[in-house]
């Protein structure tokens, strides 16, 4: 149970710098997810918190202690690895109790802690098996159990679910969430899967190329993305982005419709400014198959190239200004390819980014 603070943390491998001075404050009992595409430095950051990688510059503290030069064993952390990293020559019971045995705790205490962890993760039947005789999901649970018996200050998860199949992944995701509720503690969790990030996190940290792009609650990063990268990375399908130019309170999409500058952005743009208009498929719907538009909206025609019926809704693929655009149709009816439909765009939920900096103009 402790805060984790990263101040200007830098990681270099020789001349190659992979983490560029990131700042991050993680609160007590907070569940923070580091998310980003592969190579963005999220795992490196986690491993620096763990002490498995030395930091090149900056400062990391856990609780009130600066841990820059402490080896992992003195940081009072637990880590769950992507490939479980169980000790193959020990039974589940020994795996769970290993850290306490190393710490020379009395045997009764070890037994009690192991039993409790096994209970929480329903591992009691497998206690005398070796990892080789367990399924992937069971191994993952043992790895988590090994982490919780220590009562660490901070739990670190390094893509723990990426080796599991889709169904098991959803199930384990729920278990991790429950685990966090039962075992109140600070968790730093790394994943490349934005769904995992959205469902688990108290706060999401989106990283790219060794920089933090945005930190916020799942809803914040979804509803007010700080830049085009976050806008396309969070949410599925990704946000539609169209380049345009501001002219007299309207955005002229090159080769597409004129769209009024959405309310939240009026006064923040100047005439002639190059901008990028962003909107999610949930906010572009064919007239008559849309949510009632309460604020301002605009209408234009678009040809549907392809449709993907999903049952309760249908995904429509069209193109505007030469770019593919995705829209949604509620209460769907069959749509034939090439059909021209009238679409309504909810302006209150549009985003505007500067074309040069790619940053939100909000």
């Amino acid at each position: 149970m402790a805060k984790v603070n990263l101040r200007k943390v830098v990681k270099k491998y020789g001349a190659l710098q992979v983490v560029h001075g990131i700042d991050l404050e993680i609160d007590d009992n907070e569940f923070v997810v580091l998310v980003g595409p592969s190579g963005c430095g999220k795992s490196t950051t986690l491993r620096m918190i763990a002490g498995l990688e030395a930091i090149s510059d900056g400062e990391i503290s856990i609780g009130e202690r600066v841990v820059n030069d402490l080896p992992p064993r003195n940081r009072n952390i637990s880590m769950v690895f992507q490939n479980y990293a169980l000790y193959p020559h020990m039974t589940v019971r020994e795996n769970l109790g290993f850290s306490l045995k190393i710490a020379k705790r009395p045997q009764e205490e070890i037994d009690r802690a192991v039993e409790a962890a096994a209970q929480i993760l329903s591992l009691s039947e497998y206690m005398d098996r070796k990892p080789g005789a367990l399924s992937g999901g069971q191994r993952q649970r043992v790895a988590m159990g090994r982490a919780i018996v220590r009562h660490p200050d901070v739990f670190l998860f390094d893509e723990p679910l990426s080796n599991l199949d889709a169904k098991l992944r959803t199930q384990m995701r729920t278990e991790i969430k429950k685990l966090h509720q039962k075992v109140k503690s600070t968790i730093v969790y790394v994943t490349h899967d934005q769904v995992e990030a959205m469902t688990l996190a108290d706060r999401i940290v989106i990283m790219r190329d060794g920089h933090i792009e945005q930190v916020g609650t799942p809803l914040e990063v979804f509803e007010t993305p700080a830049n085009t990268f976050v806008a396309t990375f969070i949410g599925s399908p990704p946000m539609n982005l169209l380049a345009g130019r501001v002219a007299d309170g309207e955005i002229a999409i090159e080769g597409g419709p004129q769209i009024a500058v959405p309310d939240p952005f009026s006064g923040k743009v100047v005439n002639g400014q190059e901008v990028i208009l962003g909107f999610r498929s949930d906010n572009l719907m064919p007239a008559g198959h849309a949510m009632p538009m309460e604020g301002g909206f605009t209408e234009f025609d678009m040809k549907v190239d392809l449709s993907e019926p999903l049952g309760t809704e249908t995904l429509l693929f069209g193109s505007l200004a030469g770019k593919e655009v995705q829209a949604k149709m509620l209460n769907p009816r069959p749509v034939s390819d090439g059909e021209e439909l009238r679409f309504q765009l909810d302006l209150t939920r549009c985003h505007l980014f500067d074309a040069n900096s790619q940053q939100s103009l909000r």
């Binding site: 002490g51 992992p72 064993r73 193959p88 020559h89 290993f98 190393i102």
Partner: protein, 298 residues
């Protein structure tokens, strides 16, 4: 007319059967038979005289034989343990090297490239009491002012042989253990670090179980090697002085070829074989246990 037609499996196996008989089976049976005769190389007719288990009784009652037997076990135990520890240390060090490791690995194997006979000659020179390097160095450094009789004193000679043996074969352990270290996955080691292990503890509890199978393979190979040790000892001391470094196979070799008592030599050889068989079975048992420990047993 019905001709005898051997079954196809027999015909197909015949070449192998002929070769194995000629190379292995017949010599083996012949030597076993000769161990029950007073066969002497100089008097061929003695091969046809059956004397029952006389040679075996003679060997079992012979103090020389048991002394050589015991000395072989002693050499085997000391040499194997020391070579294992040094090989392990060497492998751990080389495993840490990041630059030039391939070169170092090749250099490490140099001792294995020399014929044991040459190693014997080399160490015979190094430990020579008059012109040898060791005495020369000790005297030049002022650590000793007498010529230490390395190859003349029984215990020192045994020590000298041990050094030569270790010099030539520690790399067997080092190479095999290094291969084991390469195969140790990184994750459990990191997990152990996070779990609170000191470097020594993660070695003891995680790395060592992983490399145990490799250590047992090396021990099995080397136990056979040392149990039949002959060349280095033959060159360095010829079993002397006064049989004080006599090992099983220098004794057997001398009995068979110098004294020409081939029947008696064969009898001692058959008793000695059990030593090799015992160690092989023992280390393979250990190997399998270590492998099943890791969940690798098939």
């Amino acid at each position: 007319m019905s001709r005898f037609r051997p079954p196809p499996w027999f015909v197909l196996l015949l070449p192998a059967i002929i070769i194995l008989s000629a190379v292995v089976l017949i010599p083996l049976l012949l030597s076993l038979y000769s161990s029950f005769t007073p066969y002497r190389l100089t008097r061929p007719e003695t091969l046809y005289k059956w004397i029952g288990t006389y040679n075996y009784e003679k060997a079992i009652e012979s103090a020389h034989f048991w002394a050589a037997f015991g000395r072989t076990i002693l050499l085997l135990t000391i040499a194997l343990n020391l070579e294992m520890l040094m090989g392990l240390g060497l492998a751990l060090l080389v495993n840490k090297v990041t630059y030039g490791q391939r070169t170092l690995r090749t250099v490490m194997m140099f001792p294995m490239m020399f014929s044991p006979i040459l190693v014997g000659f080399q160490f015979k020179f190094i430990f020579n009491d008059n012109v040898g390097l060791v005495n020369n160095a000790l005297q030049s450094l002022g650590l000793s002012n007498v010529a230490i009789p390395w190859l003349v004193d029984g215990q020192l000679a045994f020590f000298s042989i041990l050094v030569a043996e270790m010099w030539s074969s520690t790399s067997v352990f080092a190479i095999l253990i290094l291969a084991g270290l390469f195969a140790v996955p990184r994750d459990p080691i990191e997990a152990a670090k996070v779990d609170g292990c000191t470097p020594w503890q993660s070695f003891r509890h995680i790395t060592l179980p992983y490399i145990m199978p490799f250590i047992y393979i090396a021990l099995a190979i080397r136990s056979l090697d040392v149990a039949r040790a002959y060349d280095i000892v033959q060159i360095m001391t010829n079993g002397g002085p006064a049989r004080r470094t006599e090992l099983l196979w220098t004794l057997i070799g001398r009995t068979g070829y110098v004294d020409a008592k081939m029947g008696y030599a064969n009898a001692m050889g058959y008793i000695s074989i059990f030593l090799a068989i015992f160690f092989t079975i023992y280390f393979f048992r250990k190997l399998n246990a270590a492998r099943s420990e890791l969940g690798m047993a098939g």
